[in-house]
Structures are given as structure tokens and as C-alpha cells.
Point group: C3
Chain length 264, copies 3
Amino acid sequence: MSYLSKVRESNPLVHNITNIVVANFSANGLLALGASPFMADAHEEVVDIAAFSSAVVLNIGTLNDYAIQSMVLAGQSANKHGVPLVLDPVGAGATSYRTAVTQKLVNEMQITALRGNVAEVANVIGESWSIKGVDAGEGDGDVVVLAETAARKLGCVVIITGKDDVITNGDNTYIASNGHPILKKVTGTGCLLSAVVGAFLAVSEGASLEAAVEALSFYGVAAEIAAELTTGQGPGSFQIEFLNQLSLVTAETYQDKSIIKQLR
Amino acid sequence: MSYLSKVRESNPLVHNITNIVVANFSANGLLALGASPFMADAHEEVVDIAAFSSAVVLNIGTLNDYAIQSMVLAGQSANKHGVPLVLDPVGAGATSYRTAVTQKLVNEMQITALRGNVAEVANVIGESWSIKGVDAGEGDGDVVVLAETAARKLGCVVIITGKDDVITNGDNTYIASNGHPILKKVTGTGCLLSAVVGAFLAVSEGASLEAAVEALSFYGVAAEIAAELTTGQGPGSFQIEFLNQLSLVTAETYQDKSIIKQLR
Amino acid sequence: MSYLSKVRESNPLVHNITNIVVANFSANGLLALGASPFMADAHEEVVDIAAFSSAVVLNIGTLNDYAIQSMVLAGQSANKHGVPLVLDPVGAGATSYRTAVTQKLVNEMQITALRGNVAEVANVIGESWSIKGVDAGEGDGDVVVLAETAARKLGCVVIITGKDDVITNGDNTYIASNGHPILKKVTGTGCLLSAVVGAFLAVSEGASLEAAVEALSFYGVAAEIAAELTTGQGPGSFQIEFLNQLSLVTAETYQDKSIIKQLR
């Protein structure tokens, strides 16, 4: 059975500590997909929630010291209870505060999957990278090397999204080429992808790399279909149709349209 | 005149202390309905805002200690000034923290209406209830008994939503059967219902039970129409059409389609 | 070249310190327009972000003491680095706390543009004004006088929105008459306008008044087109189409439909 079908069958609880910009969109995207979102960051309860959730997703979009401490508590609880843990290091490298926070997070917990753009991932592992105009092209060996280096250093799956997406655990590496540029015109589409990866990891039974690759295919194909159905209409209509497609796209559809290349 | 017409005529100010997931959707739903939302939780101003509002709605979705204190201040101010007060105990029972917070809130203020699912309401009054797979069926005496027990214990209207909804003040009890399952695929539809109940209470002149019953009918019928108009399209389209219908459905429409049964 | 074209060409970074109700809508509106939103309020990073942004927009929608201090830090950093600074004094006058906060903000930093309704602007400069039912009609001399007084007192562009909008720097004054009443049925349309003004100021090279006038025309025309395309459908559909139009409307379109009158 596909991971998507497993998500839809078991409705895994996904605990999100996220930000004021994307909380609604992330919850609606997870619901559309078939998962059960739980947004909470109070120190008094995140340890409990992470423990009984099927995945925990940390997103530093509008971080502050309170939320960071929430993330540490939830992340360590996820680790203790064997719950898959996703980190989205939004804006790492944009400020020294964000860079320091993401490095603190990866030091204090074991991430299952890290999802960011190339500059964010580079900054998480202490490499500098120009933030503007960088995309992970299929032939761009540097991005692949960066992803694999990060995966080995952090001991986790690393997903670098760009024009093409790199997904690697350090040993095996895939390039995923679905998706659509209009995703960049809707806020939180990267954050929601991280949450969707969490939902797929929730039903992966340890096959994190395979589940992540499938999550990327599903998400990219849903975006392509939504973009095609709203051609010329604008990002408002795309956003709504994308939520629709997250609920409508089947495993057969995205497996049929999926463009995945295994590098090694 | 129907309570809906009164809301649309007087645009009551509804003060919401709510969460980062549903704040936007709740505000847009209240505006569509014809009410005036005011979202604010600063300790320095909630006492004032609650005092001059026509209803106060407290929602613990992404609670923390600061927001709880805001709720206590606003709730007590609402009580002092005779302003109807709605509590949505999101996730009560899911963590001991949430259970404790909701019990603290009902102890420190007099709620006018409590709106939650069966597990949430049970936990507010200290009864345990399994959280998963519980719906308030018409023939499910236990849910009715629970609602009536809670209403008497708290001295307020209790609304338990599920497949069917129970609305009671402890003496008179109604079952409302409008609505649509796709509501569960959009985050915050329960929270927005609580806010809509607040708007109806704002114009109820003390007839809380009747106003709550009418709010449930209105909301359920709007959902049914929106679901029919977006059949097969997905939760994105439903969400938008639902906002449309909250502004378009008239008292005549929902009174015509309303499925209400008085139990006693 | 129009300011709109400059925004779309340079994608200016707009730093927003805003509220939980409108953060998502503001970010999506800025993205649709062609700007790059950055929402962040942590004290550890707002000074840095304001410094490298092309505009800073402060919105007190769901203010609290932490966010106010964030605004002071970001505003003073914007001033130091010559970055245009917009203030949206949401609800000034509704509570004494809000009034005091807005007065503190304008005292501790130099605003480039203030955008509010007539009651909000009046309260920022310490004049009382009835909050309900006040619109800036073309023939309403008092609103124009208020706007010009505020502009001179604060040394900035003042934009008072209502049925018609007044835009002035104290010396030159314009009345803009585009827009549509359904804007009031969608939460955050005023807040997003303030953010859009920020994006236009970001590319204004000091021509703040001209950029603000153009921003108002663009925004009003986009609303008119969206309202026409969704006639009779409701505020949900309007909201989505409005986001579409923010990405679709060209400088030619809004310059053609713009209704601007220079008073002096």
C-alpha cells in the first residue's frame, strides 16, 4: 500500500509547532491530505502531545524564545518516544539569530528529516551559501553534495527544495522534479510540504527516505494539477485548488506523473 | 424577527480570544455573517473590550498561560457587564493541561454557552470520555444525558456537536441534525461555530437556548448548501463557498431546511 | 516606469510585524503583488531584518507588550537605515491602551506613512473622533483637515481610508475614490493595504506621496475588478479573486481606471 493510502486510512496525528503566518494553511493542508493536525506550543503540554503524536513538525517561521523552548521540549519528547521529527529551518541564514537557533535545535535533538531551501540547509550545518537565486538543478552537483553532507552530518533525511528537489539520507539520493513555480506565490507552501513529509513519515515504519520521496512526488503532482486547473487565474485560485488536490490526488495519479531520478 | 436578521441589522461586536490557527477564518466568518469581530488578548485592554462588546468568545486552541489569564480577565469583565460569554474548550481531555485550564475557566467565570465535542464537554465537567470515534447520534442517550448534566452543573447552555448536535439548558433539550461531514476537513469550523453562537447570543436578550438553536440551524444549513454547491471539488472550494453562504443564507432559507427535534 | 512595475521587477523585501488574524492574508497579498514578505517579531532579530529590508510595516492588530517592543526596535532600525516605515494603528481609540501605544510609537520613531480610518488617525494625534459611521467623503472638509493636520504634526504621509480615501503629506492632498464596499467584509483588507503601501514606498526613492497615491489606486482598482468578477457570490469568493487581481492588474489597467482628484 502507498504511504498516501496509509495516511488516509490511519489519519495520523501530526503535532505542529509553527508560526502565525502558516498555521491555518498547514492545518487545512494536513486535513485535506487525510492527516489530523494538532497545533500547540504551551510548555505545559508539548511533551505529552509529542509523545502521543505520530509525527512532530517544528517550523521556526516566526520564532521567539518561548517557541524555541517549546520545540526543544517537543523534539526531545519525540526522540524519547520514537516519533518521527521534521525540522523546517525557515530563514536560517537570514539572521544570525535564526542560524543559531537552528543549530541549537539540531544539536539538542535527533531530527528524522530536515526540509529547507539550499541556503537554509547550508546554514543549519554551518556552511555559508548565498540566499538569493539558488535553485537545485538536476545537474547542480554542489546542491547534491550539500544535501548528502548535511544528511551524513545530521544522521537524517535531508530534503532541499528548489527547481528540482534533492532527497537523500547520505547513502541514497533522489532528484524529484514535480511541482510548479506558482507555489512560490503562496505563503507557507514550503512549510506545508514539511508538514506533509511529517504525515508520510508518521506511517513509514522507519522507511523515512522512501516516505519522503513519495511525499515530494505527491505534493509536486498535486501542485501541477492545481496549477493546470487554474491556469491564468492567479495565486488565490491556485491556493484553493491546491487544497482541493491534496484531498483528491490518489496514489495512482501521482505515481503515474511522478518524475523521480535516483542518483545513487 | 429572526436572530440572524438581528445580527445583520445590528452588527454586534464579538470579542474573540482565540488561537493562531483559526483567527483569520473566525474573523472572516463573523464578518460574512454580519457581526463585527474584535480579536485582542492583551491584559491591558481585554477588560475594556469585553465590557463594551456584545459577546465574548473564548477559545483555547493554542493556549498558553498569558492567553489563559487574558480569558479570565475578559470573562470576568463580561460577567460583570452582563455580556454573553461562550467557551470553546478545544482539546479538553487531550492533555491534562487543557483539562485543568478548562476547569479553571468554568470555575472562575459564569459561561453562557459551552460548545464542544462530546469528549471536550465531558472533560470540562470532570467526566472521562474516549476521544476518538464518538458522535452524538439522535438515539445516543448518553450524549444527551451528558449535555444535560453539564448544563445543570455549569448553569449554562451546552452544545455538543457531532453527527447530530445536542443543545440544552438542562431543562429543555434539542437535537439539531443539519451540517455536513466535510466541515471536519476544514480547520476551525468548530471554533467558528462557537463564534457564531456568540454573535447570536449577542442579540438574544437573554433567550440563550433559542438563539443557540437558531445559530446551529443557520450554520448547518449554510454548510449543507456550500457542500452541495462544491460537490466533488474538495475542502478548499468548500471553505470559500461556506464563507459565501454565511453571508447569503437568509432566515427563511435555514428555517425552511432546519432539522430540529425537541426532546423535552 | 510605474511603482507597480518597479515592485514586480525588484521584489522588495517587506518586513511586517503584524497580528495573528491577518499575517497569512498579508503575506499572500504581498506575494501576489510581487513583493517578498518577511514576518518576524523576535527582539533578537528585528533590528537586523528591518535594516536589510526595503520597507517595514507595523500593525498593532493583536498587540501586546512584547510586540510593541519589537515595533520600537524595528522602527528605530528602519529610521537609522533610511528604510520606509508604515504604521497601521488598528483600533486606536477603541481602548486607551491602543491609543497610548500608537502615540508612543509615533513619538519614538519617524513614520513615513500612517494608514488608518478617520477615528484611528484622529486618536494617534490626540484628537477625539466618534468611531462609528464615519467616512471620508469627498466633500467632507473635516477629514481632509484632519489628515493634513496629522501629516504636518507627524511629518509624514497620512492616508485616511473610508468611502473615499485622503492621501496627503500636509502640502499636497489627493482624494482617491476607487475601491469597493465588500472590502469591509474581509478581515485584514485595511492591514494588507498598509503592507501594499509599504511595498510601493520600498521602490519610491523618496517620492512617498506619489507612491502612496499609486498604491491606493492599484489596490482600489484590483478590488473593483475582483468585486465585479464575483458579483453576488459572497466575501469568500471575493477574497480569493482579490488575491488573484493583486497579481494580475497591470499599471496600465489601474492608471486607466484610477479616480484621483488633487485638492491642492
